[in-house]
């Protein structure tokens, strides 16, 4: 059996007096598609943000591809990671945000080519060629010269996905990527993600409230509540036959709120 690509070991994280994560451990296998579901404030987004190094952990350890994310070896001891170490580790990980976070002053093409040119030393021509392939993949090849403000929310999010992919990460984090979209624009983004899951062997972690999509997309579903994994398993088991009472009541509420399962 292969080694896990992400190994989270007893991490904790507080925001002020609020303990979001308390001794959480989990593992992700290479190529696995993982859906993280649960009520707001349950810590699922925090896990993605911690993996992207947008939040620091207060305790515990994380390994990515067998290497410590927040620590490094120095003279036999485990010490906090330097900025250089973090930069190297971040190359393995990409993230797509709920609110897209495109650069409003750059056209679509420049949004995508900026990081590969700056962080990987790619030549402009090569970076643009790769960007056009990615735009083609997300169905926006004709928008290369458009400014973000000229795009719909769904188009913005597809550009954001292409931008993250341009750095060829091994792990992609999707943080409620359809939550800010008008309902009729959700599918165009989900279709891109389906295609991505089918065509690549990237490891994907998805925080979502789209239960139907999580069901089709994920190999494994984790249900979070108050910073803990309450229940995990195959999508069919979690969505059709949840064992835990908290999972059942959460899913009931979600269905009552009109979300598709």
């Amino acid at each position: 059996m292969a080694a896990p690509i992400i190994k989270i070991d007893a991490i904790s994280k507080s925001f002020g007096a609020f303990k979001v994560l308390d001794g959480l451990s989990m593992q992700v296998m290479p190529g696995e598609k993982l859906a993280l579901i649960g009520p707001s404030g349950s810590g699922k987004t925090t896990i993605l943000r911690i993996l992207m190094t947008l939040e620091r952990i207060d305790g515990g350890h994380i390994e990515v591809e067998g290497e410590q994310l927040y620590h490094m070896q120095r003279e036999g001891a485990l010490v906090p990671a330097s900025e250089r170490h973090l930069t190297r580790m971040r190359q393995k990980i990409g993230m797509v945000f709920q609110l897209f976070n495109l650069f409003p002053h750059k056209c679509v093409l420049d949004n995508i080519t900026l990081a590969p040119m700056l962080t990987k030393g790619m030549a402009r021509a090569a970076a643009e060629k790769r960007a056009m392939e990615l735009l083609d993949m997300v169905g926006l090849a004709d928008k290369a010269k458009a400014m973000p403000a000229q795009l719909s929310g769904g188009q913005k999010q597809r550009v954001a996905i292409a931008r993250a992919l341009a750095l060829s990460p091994k792990i992609m984090l999707f943080d409620e990527v359809t939550s800010a979209l008008d309902p009729e624009l959700v599918d165009e983004v989900l279709n891109v993600m389906r295609k991505l899951a089918a065509e690549t062997d990237m490891t994907m972690l998805l925080v979502t409230h789209e239960m139907g999509f999580a069901h089709d997309f994920a190999d494994r579903v984790l249900f979070f509540d108050r910073g803990k994994i309450v229940e995990e398993g195959k999508p069919d088991d979690i969505f059709r036959h949840p064992k835990q009472e908290r999972t059942q009541s959460f899913l009931k509420k979600i269905i009552a709120a009109g979300h598709r399962v």
């Binding site: 992207m52 971040r90 190359q91 945000f97 650069f103 002053h105 990081a115 962080t119 000229q150 750095l167």
Partner: protein, 219 residues
């Protein structure tokens, strides 16, 4: 009747000096503004402290005194400056201190999500600042930079006190030679105003050009 043509020449020469001071002072002010403004946001305490001291000192003391220091006191310490150099130095450092706060405020006004996108794309601190944060923040700075430049233009008149023949200095020469007060002072009033309008117009059109495409209007 006074023949004004020769005197107009004097005034125009003064206008050239004023324009030169304004341009050179603005360049220095811009450099200082970015150095000190970004310095205030530095991770390093020493850099922050240095930037803060510079800003508070030059905002907190009179530009007259700063000019006198540059021209009369620095030579005592071994730095001999021409009147033009002293004028540019005092004006640039003074206005740069105000503009530094503009830089800091504009950079801080850029949303957290832009910084997070930079981290997620693995850009270094300076790369993100240079390519993502500053280009957006610059647009916020521009109108206030225009104000600062106009302030600097008007402050150039202090250099007449160190015998630099700027617009105000020449007007006084004309007044002394012709005995007429109204004509020279009315003339320079109009010239200062015209120059200020030019700066306003320049910053506005630059702002329009840079904000193209940001508001979703197809261009």
């Amino acid at each position: 009747m006074i023949d004004w043509s020769g005197y107009l020449d004097l005034i125009l020469q003064g206008a050239l000096v004023t324009i030169k001071l304004t341009l050179m002072g603005s360049v220095l002010a811009l450099i200082m503004a970015f150095l000190a403004g970004l310095g205030r946001l530095s991770r390093f305490f020493a850099v922050r402290a240095l930037a803060t001291i510079y800003i508070e000192f030059f905002r907190g003391t009179s530009i007259f005194v700063q000019l006198f220091w540059a021209y009369f006191v620095l030579p005592l310490l071994g730095f001999e400056l021409t009147p033009l150099q002293a004028g540019v130095l005092a004006l640039g450092l003074n206005v740069g201190a105000y503009a530094a706060e503009v830089v800091r405020g504009a950079v801080q006004s850029i949303g957290k999500e832009q910084y997070e996108a930079c981290t997620a794309l693995n850009l270094g601190r300076w790369q993100g600042m240079r390519h993502v944060i500053l280009p957006q923040a610059f647009l916020t700075m521009l109108p206030t930079f225009g104000n600062n430049a106009i302030e600097l233009l008007k402050a150039t008149s202090v250099v007449s006190l160190i015998s630099l023949a700027d617009l105000t200095f020449q007007a006084q020469v004309v007044r002394a030679q012709t005995g007429n007060t109204l004509v020279p002072f009315a003339t320079i009033l109009v010239i200062y105003f015209a120059l200020a309008m030019l700066i306003s117009w320049g910053t506005r059109s630059l702002e329009r050009r840079l904000s193209r495409g940001l508001d979703g209007v197809r261009v």
